[in-house]
């Protein structure tokens, strides 16, 4: 099979990912810039002219946010919250993947757990927080558990779905080359599930941040949630909004961080 390399030379060149042209990137970013500007201007104008308690002008919100950052109000609460979140997410990712993988590997485990997992996906998790408070008090266990019940189910479901819905032709190929069930699982199903597993972790992290704040608001003494509780009055709306902005940014940042970490942990090109 030599000597015809030239004949199909053009076909043999590996395709490289093409960078989007400046024009394409503008087409993508310009609408966002316009919508963002529209929101900012409208908010500011309405906030100033309508003088509504529930809608302070955007400039005041950012001033409050700046104030938070320099006087250390947020930093102090952030530490407590981050410890809760990281602990909760670490446990959620570990047990979520483990449970999802076991469900994908063994039908028995799937039949035993599938109903509960699906029910838990739909259940209003915040309702469980008072129960945790009754049982565990208002310390770390309650808050970590709240993060877990918010975060773990999408991770379980996506891991399970990823492992179960692998392209059947890949599984057939593995069988044909004599793979055992164990080899099919580790060498084909698990790596094939990775993109969906990442999506589950991403979704789980976003929900984990929600769980964190829900838990802390209900516990109302610690962390960022306690601040939400404290500023949730008609006299501190700009600070409440500042806090919300901060929480959204934090959630986005954490989702990115977790995604980056999990990509590094399993070096798979997706």
């Amino acid at each position: 099979m030599t000597g015809r390399q030239e004949a199909i030379g053009s076909q043999m060149a590996p395709r490289r990912p093409v960078r989007p042209s400046p024009g394409a990137r503008l087409a993508e970013n310009l609408p966002l810039a316009i919508s963002a500007l529209a929101i900012v201007v409208t908010w500011e104008v309405v906030g100033r002219t309508a003088d509504l308690t529930v809608l302070p002008p955007l400039s005041e919100i950012f001033a409050a946010l700046w104030q938070f950052l320099v006087d250390g109000t947020i930093i102090e609460s952030l530490g407590v919250s981050l410890v809760t979140l990281l602990l909760g997410m670490a446990l959620s990712i570990f047990f979520g993947i483990a449970i999802g993988a076991l469900m994908g590997r063994y039908r028995t485990v799937e039949y035993a757990l599938d109903v509960y997992v699906n029910a838990a996906m739909a259940a209003p998790m915040v309702a469980f927080v008072p129960v945790f408070i009754l049982v565990f008090g208002i310390g770390y266990p309650t808050r970590v558990l709240t993060v877990i019940i918010f975060a773990i189910f999408p991770i379980i479901v996506d891991t399970f779905a990823g492992i179960r819905n692998v392209d059947p032709s890949l599984v057939e190929m593995g069988r044909s080359f004599g793979a055992s069930e164990r080899q099919l699982f580790w060498r084909i199903r698990v790596p094939a599930a990775f993109p969906l597993l990442l999506a589950g972790i991403r979704l789980g992290t976003a929900r984990g941040v929600k769980g964190l704040i829900n838990g802390e608001v209900l516990v109302a003494v610690v962390g960022l949630g306690a601040l939400v509780d404290r500023f949730g009055t008609p006299f501190s709306m700009e600070r409440l909004y500042a806090l919300i902005f901060f929480l959204v940014a934090l959630a986005l940042l954490l989702v990115r961080l977790v995604e980056w970490l999990s990509r590094r942990a399993v070096r798979v090109p997706v």
Binding site: M1, T2, R4, Q11, E172, S176, F177, R187
Partner: protein
């Protein structure tokens, strides 16, 4: 090498009534080193038969022996080249090619050496570290072929391997396959729906019919080897190809008539 005696495949119907018969009474004897194609209208069970020979599908009737032993599952003496390539997208070309060896627990150095050799055999040297998505369809199927060759099977089972490729790529791959086959003389069972492909490659072409799937006729292809591009234009090639078409057309029209009635 491969002997089928009265092989039949039944699919149980959902309501427990009469089973669907996918294949009946398949008799076939393929010799060591022979290149045999299965061709027939869709629904004739040619891919089913190939999967039964690989041991991926069970069969309910008759007996199938590969190298004298009854088939109960996939075995190391057989390897499949798949229709949709079935490459693992997260592995490089080299890792895909050594996948079968890895499953068998061959040591890293050894399997990598074998993989490199087979990547070169299919003309992909320089692409060892590329990922499947970076390759064209033809190149991906070269990887599929290299992966099958890497486990050094006596029997190569090919399931419409070039079916999704364009005509030029297909011609190149056919010629390359014959070169590899010439050098190794493995037994090949090749499923295709392209008549010229079956005639160009094979020692014998097995025509299959539908309703239920069965062997209808076995045609000897007496074209001289090695076969080259000149073969494709020889009168005998044209004659054989039109004979196969004649038979297939009869079958397809026959089916159309019975469904019309």
């Amino acid at each position: 090498m491969i002997e089928a005696v009265g092989v039949g495949k039944l699919y149980a119907s959902g309501d427990g009534s009469e089973a669907f018969r996918a294949l009946v009474g398949v008799n076939l004897a393929i010799r060591d080193g022979e290149f045999v194609s299965l061709i027939g209208p869709s629904g004739c069970g040619k891919t089913t038969l190939l999967k039964i020979v690989d041991g991926l599908l069970p069969y309910e009737e008759g007996e199938l022996r590969v190298m004298g032993r009854p088939v109960t599952g996939p075995g190391p003496e057989r390897a499949v080249v798949f229709q949709n390539f079935a490459l693992l997208p997260w592995l490089t070309v080299l890792d895909n090619v050594q996948f079968g060896l890895q499953l068998r627990g061959v040591e890293r150095d050894q399997r990598e050496e074998v993989a490199r050799r087979n990547v070169a055999t299919v003309g992909l040297q320089g692409f060892e570290l590329a990922y499947p998505r970076q390759l064209s369809g033809g190149m991906q199927q070269r990887v599929g072929l290299a992966r099958a060759l890497a486990v050094d099977p006596q029997i190569l089972l090919m399931d419409e391997p070039f079916g999704s490729l364009d005509a030029q790529t297909r011609n190149l791959l056919q010629a390359d396959l014959l070169r590899v086959w010439d050098a190794s003389r493995k037994t090949v069972l090749f499923v295709t729906h392209a008549m010229d492909e079956a005639v160009f490659l094979s020692d014998r072409v097995v025509l299959m019919a539908t309703g239920p799937g069965r062997v209808s006729e076995v045609i000897d292809i007496d074209l001289p080897r090695p076969r080259t591009d000149a073969t494709r234009t020889s009168p005998r090639f044209v004659e054989l190809t039109s004979y196969v078409w004649d038979r297939l057309r009869g079958m397809i029209l026959g089916v159309a008539e019975t469904t019309d009635a």
